[in-house]
């Protein structure tokens, strides 16, 4: 892989700073964090951050950075995003008392994948505090890159734990950055879709979320390419769905063009990069085939833009690989080459028998065809072109009438179900709990009603009077190729109804 050519797009934006130039890096580490233990057999092991730390120490990298011990975030810091009752629950639940709070466990989705373990709350406070601390560092302008490998828990929602994540430190960090930056870019290279962060910023144009992830019968299930944001946040959300076995070249062939364009169009004041290491080859839960170097290429690329950068951890369940990956990426952040032969360190035995820094990729099959990747890339770039350069220029005048149907949907009775294909209410009066409360922005279902009110010109394009912006109308976002790829259409009728709905989608 030749980084220099691929990085050309990035460098063109940079007035100063090149790859070679040093960056001022700060790094947050809490020595207690390695001892938090999710439970026997649980894939998530905070211990991996400690292993990373040992590697950094023996490579002599710690001496090159400012290293800080984070301050645990306080309740009110967490409540900047999370709901009060959820935070209160996290604060009070313990392994011993949890069975007295079954309904709360269910409500907040705690107890299964997100188990209650000793020290859970202080664990959350620590990693969240570190991420916010990193954001403050960047805001202060004293450092170019801030690192928190214990953070990056991107699945946590406002009132709900999910996917081993309890508190969404990323959202909190971004909120801190937004105090001094008009626009913040979030990039997620974890193999799982960054749903928590996407959801938190789904309706704003101040944060752009871009996620590269495996899509299709995979946790968490969101991250469809057609999810592009909503209301003011429309087009400020990008989802790049990938398939098993993607390798370094394929990944960079789609990562760099997209991110390059994003940087150009969005011009963020700060970038947050979630470096989930479960996209590495050989991950216990993942199914990609990136090498350590391929993964780090993303870090290298983001660094080259010379924009304040917050590096966070995330997934990663083969801890010998995770630690090497993040150690290597710390080196990348510092602009420091590292020897392939690992230095002796406290966890040396974990890296037997090779004792090499590099995480190798395997010969697994890459199910992402070039053609498919091209299509994905084109669609994403197409969506991107709909961005105005900066949201301070109003994208379009939103006449209140256009908004009416959508807020109504939010206020709908959550018990009502809308089946997108049959356009009727399916009653299910099970008392709906948390997962129904997370109600239902229906990109598909948009509005049958709309079809009546709009007019079509002879080419079947929609004409409306609502949009005053220069946006070209009625560009079907490749709907004809979309539908079959990401849902299984089991009848002609389904396909037709999906088609019809997608036609309407461009209207919103």
């Amino acid at each position: 892989m030749d980084p220099s050519s691929a990085g050309a797009g990035g460098n063109s934006l940079v007035s100063s700073g090149t790859d070679a130039q040093k960056r001022r890096v700060c790094y947050f580490y809490d020595p207690e964090l390695g001892n938090y233990y999710y439970g026997q057999g649980h894939a998530m092991k905070p211990h991996r951050v400690r292993m990373t730390h040992a590697l950094l120490a023996h490579y002599g990298l710690l001496g090159r950075m400012q290293v800080l011990r984070p301050l645990p975030a306080r309740d009110r810091d967490l409540c900047r995003f999370h709901s009060d009752d959820y935070v209160a629950f996290l604060r009070t639940v313990t392994p011993e008392t949890q069975f007295h709070q079954i309904s709360s466990l269910r409500r907040f989705n705690v107890g299964e994948d997100c188990p209650v373990f000793d020290g859970l709350y202080s664990y959350c406070q620590t990693y969240a505090g570190a991420s916010v601390g990193g954001a403050v560092k960047l805001n202060h302008g004293t450092h170019d890159i801030a690192i928190n490998w214990s953070g990056g828990l991107h699945h946590a929602k406002k009132s709900e734990a999910s996917g081993f994540c309890y508190v969404n430190d990323i959202v909190l960090a971004i909120l801190e950055l937004l105090k001094l930056h008009e626009r913040v870019l979030y990039i997620d290279i974890d193999i799982h879709h960054g749903d928590g962060v996407e959801e938190a910023f789904y309706t704003t144009n101040r944060v752009m979320t871009v996620s590269f992830h495996k899509f299709g019968e995979y946790f968490p299930g969101t991250g469809d390419i057609r999810d592009i944001g909503y209301s003011e946040g429309k087009y400020y959300c990008l989802n790049v769905p990938l398939d098993d076995g993607i390798d370094d070249d394929s990944y960079q062939s789609i990562f760099k063009p997209i991110i390059g364009k994003v940087m150009e169009m969005f011009r963020p004041g700060a970038v947050v990069l979630q470096c989930g290491a479960d996209s590495l080859s050989g991950d216990r839960l993942g199914c990609f085939n990136l090498s350590g170097k391929g993964h780090a290429e993303c870090v290298k690329y983001m660094r080259s833009f010379n924009v304040p950068l917050l590096l966070l951890g995330g997934g990663g369940y083969t801890i010998r690989n995770v630690s090497r990956c993040w150690c290597y990426e710390t080196g990348v952040a510092l602009g420091q080459e590292l020897d392939e032969k690992l230095p002796f360190n406290e966890y040396y035995g974990y890296f037997a028998p090779e004792y090499s820094l590099y995480v190798a990729s395997s010969n697994m099959e890459n199910k992402n065809t070039r053609k498919k990747l091209e299509e994905i890339k084109c669609e994403i770039l197409d969506n991107l072109s709909k961005l105005q350069h900066a949201p301070s220029v109003q994208f379009e005048e939103r006449i209140p009438e256009t908004k009416l149907p959508e807020p109504d949907e939010d206020q709908e009775d959550p018990d009502e179900r809308h089946d997108p294909d049959y356009d009727m209410v399916l009653d299910d009066h099970k008392p709906l709990e948390h997962s129904a409360r997370r109600s239902l922005i229906q990109n598909i279902r948009v509005k049958r009603e709309f079809t009546e009110t709009e007019t079509k010109d002879q080419h079947g394009k929609r004409l409306t009077t609502e949009h005053t912006g220069p946006e070209p109308m009625a560009e079907d976002l490749g709907s004809s190729k979309q539908a079959p790829e990401f849902t299984t259409v089991s009848s002609v009728q389904e396909l037709q109804s999906i088609q019809a709905i997608l036609d309407v989608e461009t209207l919103v």
Partner: protein, 467 residues
């Protein structure tokens, strides 16, 4: 498959995570016979369990079918809550006579629980048409079809599919005569399920959360090569159809994954103020605000009073090519070099070495453990099926009474797992996985014996060398 361990009186703190599990289900069984994660869960589940268990025990199909018929005849939109729990979850004993009678006697698709939700006529027509299409390939294929001609055109074979499904549910492991037919039937059933369960997130009794699958799943999931991809596949209340599919020995991955929704509204989004460019005053205020600066934490490096020096130190160096140890590459060689490296680090870092707790990393932790304790830990870890998560820590606590839970965990992470990687290497296992908390299930019996012997030898050696 039939080990149902009794529920523990004192459940460990962590509930078994589900993410590792392969989704294939084995023989369906009523939930009540499964080991539970906790007493309270057991209680909660007991209520739900009795009904299906009882129903299964009765083996009485007729009332269930009648129920659906009834619903459709009386009320197109059954409004009773908890209808989902009325679904056939247990394996009903097939009463073919009554089943086919009832199916053929129904004028419409009434007998099919699949259709019960679609009361309104227009969706029902759509559904029937959909099912007709699904059933099309099999229509006329073979004379074995029950001639249920009743119903609007195209769904006459539904009863046949239904009866087949019931038979499978009742006895999944029985040999099916025609493999091709089985495959075709499976496809049909899945397609019908798709049609029936077209929306996400049937929220059901969360005490039905399939944690009870875990035992079964772990046992069936003993192959290193097969890993659960798909974190947290059970972390949300799974759709009814998915749970049912699991019991049918089918992969839920075959099921349609409907496009999952993003939440919109005040319960989901973060609050973001409108942007105004901060004045230089505001900027200064921000930078000087102690509440904000507090979040920076404590600086550990460079130490107080010193400045970061990035140019005079060499960084990025790995280990030397070769060493002068008498036995290069041996445990002693490694240990020696690690000790040297640590000493060097200590002198470089000074105070920070302690602050970063380098003294409680790696093999250092084993220094606090006697030889006996270490051997005991290893033995326990191997004897107790590691799949049985809760039991291990409870047992370990009991037998190593002087060690707190934190001590045990610390030892486990710093010493035990690392040594296991090394022993795996020695055995030249192709896949080394330091993190597999599940016991390596050896396929080769001989190998497994030698593993334990050599492992024990190695453990002794490890321990000896250290103490």
């Amino acid at each position: 498959m039939d080990h149902s361990t009794a529920p523990l009186p004192n459940p460990e703190h962590s509930i078994i995570p589900s993410q590792i599990l392969q989704v294939t289900a084995n023989k369906p069984r009523p939930p009540s016979s499964q080991a539970q994660a906790g007493a309270a869960k057991l209680r909660a589940r007991g209520a739900a369990a009795t009904t299906p268990a009882a129903a299964a025990g009765r083996g009485d199909l007729a009332p269930m079918v009648g129920m659906y018929q009834q619903q459709l005849v009386d009320d197109p939109f059954p409004l009773s809550g908890g209808r989902c729990s009325d679904q056939p979850r247990q394996s009903p004993a097939p009463a073919p006579a009554s089943a086919s009678t009832s199916t053929s006697s129904s004028a419409t698709v009434a007998a099919s629980p699949l259709a019960q939700a679609h009361g309104a006529s227009e969706p029902r027509r759509l559904f029937e048409a959909l099912m007709g299409e699904i059933l099309l390939p099999l229509r006329g294929a073979g004379g074995g079809n029950g001639g249920c001609g009743g119903g609007p055109g195209g769904v006459g074979d539904l009863g046949e599919v239904l009866r087949w499904t019931w038979e499978v549910a009742a006895d999944p492991v029985a040999a099916r005569p025609v493999a091709a037919e089985v495959r075709a039937r499976k496809r049909q059933v899945l397609a019908l399920r798709r049609a029936r369960y077209l929306r996400m997130e049937d929220v059901a009794n969360a005490d039905e959360l399939p944690s009870f699958f875990k035992k079964r799943k772990y046992r069936s999931h003993n192959n290193h090569a097969e890993r659960q991809k798909g974190k947290g596949s059970m972390n949300m209340p799974t759709r009814k159809s998915e749970r049912l599919a699991k019991r049918m020995k089918l992969m839920t991955s075959v099921l349609l994954t409907q496009r999952k929704k993003i939440g919109v509204g005040e319960h989901f989004q973060a609050e973001i103020p409108d942007w105004t460019e901060p004045s230089s005053d505001e900027l200064t205020r921000y930078k000087n605000d102690p509440n904000i600066s507090k979040m920076l934490g404590t600086r550990i490096w460079p130490p107080e009073g010193e400045i970061l020096q990035t140019d005079n130190t060499v960084a990025g160096q790995g280990r030397m090519e070769s060493c002068k140890c008498p036995y290069p590459g041996s445990f002693f060689c490694r240990q020696h070099h690690t000790d040297v490296a640590r000493d060097q680090l200590r002198s470089e870092l000074g105070q920070a070495f302690t602050e970063w707790r380098f003294d409680s990393m790696g093999e250092q932790v084993s220094k606090m453990w006697t030889r006996e304790e270490q051997l005991k830990f290893n033995a326990l870890e191997r004897l107790v099926p590691v799949l049985d998560h809760k039991t291990f820590w409870a047992v370990a606590s009991k037998h190593l009474a002087s060690k707190t839970r934190i001590d045990l965990v610390r030892y486990y992470l710093n010493v035990f797992l690392m040594r296991r990687v090394l022993s795996q290497c020695r055995l030249n296992l192709l896949e080394i996985d330091s993190d597999e908390d599940e016991a390596e299930e050896e396929e080769d019996e001989d190998q497994s014996e030698s593993t334990s012997i050599s492992q024990r030898t190695q453990d002794v050696q490890n321990v000896k060398s250290i103490s």
